[in-house]
Symmetry: D2
Subunit: 337 residues, 4 copies
């Protein structure tokens, strides 16, 4: 394949550049960055990379067959749309767009033009999440009851999106990867404590037709960093602690059993707990997996795990959550075709 | 003082008996238990304790000046009412009653009879909570922004109350002890995963007039036990980990600062983090502190920290939460006189 | 069986009394304690227990078939000797005696009199240690390479024995239970930092004929409590963390593999690491297991795991370690028949 | 300053190159590497860097005023000697040499030639160690009683040095930085479990004239990684956990107090424990601090913290430890001028 152009060289762009260089699937890696200082840094840090300062140049350059967007969220839709229209394959930093309508338009355009549209939901490609996904889909956990995620830290405040679009988006993408089902009802509550108009604490609850219940607690204002997810099934439960370098995934042979209390002829519930197992998680970088999935989609026509449809689903849930926050936490229904 | 009668010798009763014996404030400790086998066990395990099998005997015995109820939740109101009417001081296991109306009736009755009515919210008397309360009230944390509590484990299912009345009641009592304010809006979402009609997962959010936001996540179906509370102020934040035997309370000199970005003339928010301090928490048992507070109230006329009014407030919030759960998580307003 | 007499009601005696009551293998439990106040407390805390203040009474009482000694270390030998001579079965708090000669004399006397002599090495009966023992003896770890134990805390100083006899004795008993082999060389270094003549830090290293290497680090003067043991085999390794309530035992599929570097024709060593497994450890109290083993030995003639011979072996190693400390850490050889 | 040449581009060389580039104290950074493939990688990864394949070229190049050696341990002495003789300032990867005689020769040569000789004991420049050093030297811990370090993991085996020279060297450099005193007696025990002739477990104990006692436990064959150091004084104690990203340094207001037991007229020892404090550790990289110290020494004539003398002291202790290992763990005395 010819050239991939990474657009934007801020926080995420350098990581994409490095991974596309290491993948060596593209003959050439280019960086497009309006800011002259940043562009110079990109070229200095990555010998062999070429640069340009205008997105129009990228669109016009026929050797550039694919584009990766690492630009502010509100530019995702116009830039992706132009790139697809110009016949490029497109990888977009998460979230795909700020509205479901815009996201859907990109999905349709990609389909019409037979181009790959993929969203950079990096967590979906994290080896730990991939392993959990295998376990869930192989039925190891039995029927899923709940997913409970805490993703909090004392972090940099974003200026364009609130904590749901910045942090909960990760949990939604992980949940969407674990199960094929999509939530039918969403409730979200937000809190703000600075003069910023954006929420810095978000509580999100999701209901599914199957009975699955999900709860996401995200915050920019915690003194400690927590990345902790519980996945409870009726046969096994998983604890995924993203900060535990040694044992990020633990599988518990535990669950609830019903038993009849003969004496009082009523149903009792007891817990049982057994061995704990922590599977070996290979250390491969998530972004390398993601790049490989993008490359395979272009080269072999496979469907990437976090394709445009996947990214649009995530935006649809975030949009509903945002509506719920605005309405003071009232329930918002979701319909899926 | 003469005699204290502990009513009920199931899970909690033995702890009360032991603590009242150790306090030695009452000349005599009696146990009232209908079940003959349990009563025999009470007498065997506590030499010197006297026993009876009928609550009517307790009411009729003039030497019994105080009663501690460790009986099922739905008996709290009738038994406490009868005891107060008979002129006894009353300590009730949490929650005080199943409805705010019933709780309020007990509060009024106690006031009319000039008797002590106190609720056994043990956590309020935990040395760690007492220390956090001092810090919050001394203004060490600055203005409180949020409280975020996770109280989950793989536990015994209760048969008479759901997870909110069993676990969130602890968080509510702690929060009520930390701040004098009471929530003005409550939202609660519950989930069930067994054939039991009672919720085993509960998510509770509380809004306060001051802007304080509280979130409680409680569950009976987690493979791991977590007792973790964050208390965030604009000057300092506290992490209270009830399972950390060495450092249950950590104080973070951290917070959010606003700063103007001159270049783009907009407000930025940054975090700063400094030293962490873990105060020495004396190992004294919470229940001993609680018994001492009850004894002082009877002897000296002081107001116990978890008096009837305190217990009724907690019931009122639980009742509102229950209503919100029933209504699918919609917001319920609370008015406080 | 008739009566068991627990001699000494200080720190450990009450635990023995409670466990022998709960076992109910003996028709009667008696306490022998010279100190009148302690004896009164024993009778008050344990209704149904009988008491006496003189050990001579115990010896003379034919209904007393067994004796448990919870007295200072230097009394173990004379009291146990007298009890065995009087035809009693004897359980002695660890260590069995202060010298190997004294310990050996007790072992021989017990054999000659056909009485059970057992030492209260409680850790040997801890469910976690029992489970590790099963794994080691089933060959799950392969050939054992090393055992490395850290047992430190800020503790009460003993007045009669140094930190080796107080803390390392636990590790030695655990190691002796895991392997049948006994060390052939011992080195020990001690440090003191107070005006006490007794060492408060001890470093102990043991060499075995098989190549097994053991290292024990014990201290009374650490600000944090650590109870951490590594057991390394060539197939698997175990981490036993006695303070981890949830997962005290972890089994690592990890080890060292040799591989030939063709290019440089030399041997290379690499590590590999796989899944981690944490077996369910039943919560049964160690002391209850120990009492059951003592009772079975008396009733059925079985050999208790920590019998006199086992206890004497442990004393022999401690004695050698003590000699090494005195000699500034030089190596002391041990011979085993 | 003109040019710094980094010699060797294996594991450590790239880090030195990156840090010298970032420091920008030298006008030019050069890499000297015999292996053509590695040299090409060095030039590709570091645009602007110049390269050569022969150390003789480095020596002959007058523009090169300083040399950093990141080559195998046995080359340190000859290369450093040649560089000093050629008038270069020299930074040597730890350890400075394989014998104290060789190390001392380098120290003397550097002094005679008025050139900077410094050893890359990176841990000495770690912000956590620097903070602990300040606390120790300010007397915050009172009189030092003991230092106890555990540095174990399942690691790559070295081929040229055993675990003492590979891992314990770090602890020795940290201890040497904390106190000015040097040990007067050393004992070391090593164990091997593969066909390699090099020890993979090492136990090192150090005695100081002041009464300070140090113990180092290092291993390449542990299933878990531990980097844990205790520093005990009579006023405070420190726990330094290098793997705790949030609170690597904890200061305990705890210690041992002597008290006279009037009744029995003997001395008792009790522990007391108070608050725990975890100072903020700035995130600056240790290697950047080290480079700054090297640069300051060249430019301003200051004495670097880990100068040649410091590095030679560390080698002297390792050499004594090695001798003790060879002699089966017997004590080796050290004399310091």
């Amino acid at each position: 394949m010819n050239t991939i152009a990474i657009v934007g060289y801020g926080y995420w762009g350098p990581k994409l550049v490095r991974n596309f260089i290491q993948s060596s699937a593209f003959a050439r890696v280019a960086v497009c960055e309006e800011n002259a200082e940043r562009l110079a840094r990109a070229l200095r840090e990555n010998p062999g990379v070429t640069g340009c300062s205008s997105f129009a140049e990228v669109l016009a350059d026929d050797r550039i067959s694919a584009v990766a967007l690492a630009t502010p969220v509100d530019t995702h839709h116009p830039l992706a749309k132009a790139a697809l229209a110009a016949g490029k394959h497109v990888l977009v930093e998460k979230p795909l767009a700020t509205t479901y309508a815009a996201a859907g338009e990109l999905v349709e355009l990609a389909a019409a033009r037979h181009r790959v549209l993929m969203v950079d939901h990096t967590y979906v490609y994290h080896p730990a999440v991939q392993r959990i996904r295998e376990l869930v889909r192989a039925g190891e956990l039995g029927r899923l009851h709940y997913i409970d995620s805490t993703r909090i830290n004392l972090g940099l405040f974003q200026h364009d999106v609130n904590v749901l679009w910045d942090l909960a988006v990760h949990d939604l993408s992980i949940i969407n990867a674990l199960v094929d089902e999509r939530p039918v009802r969403v409730q979200a509550i937000g809190a703000r404590h600075t003069s910023s108009p954006l929420e810095n604490i978000g509580i999100l609850t999701l209901r599914y037709a199957s009975g699955l219940f999900a709860h996401i607690n995200c915050s920019w204002v915690s003194p400690v960093k927590i990345r902790h997810m519980l996945i409870g099934g009726d046969r096994r439960m998983i604890v995924y602690d993203d900060l535990d370098a040694n044992e990020p995934v633990k599988i518990y042979d535990s669950g609830v059993v019903a038993r009849t209390d003969e004496e009082r002829s009523r149903l009792l519930f007891e817990y049982r707990i057994g061995d704990v197992r922590s599977p070996r998680i290979p250390p491969r970088e998530a972004l390398a997996n993601l790049v490989a999935d993008f490359v395979a989609a272009i080269r072999d026509g496979t469907t990437p795990r976090s394709d445009g449809r996947f990214g649009a689903d995530t935006v649809k849930i975030l949009e509903a959550a945002q509506r719920s926050v605005k309405a003071g936490g009232s329930e918002v229904s979701l319909e899926w075709k």
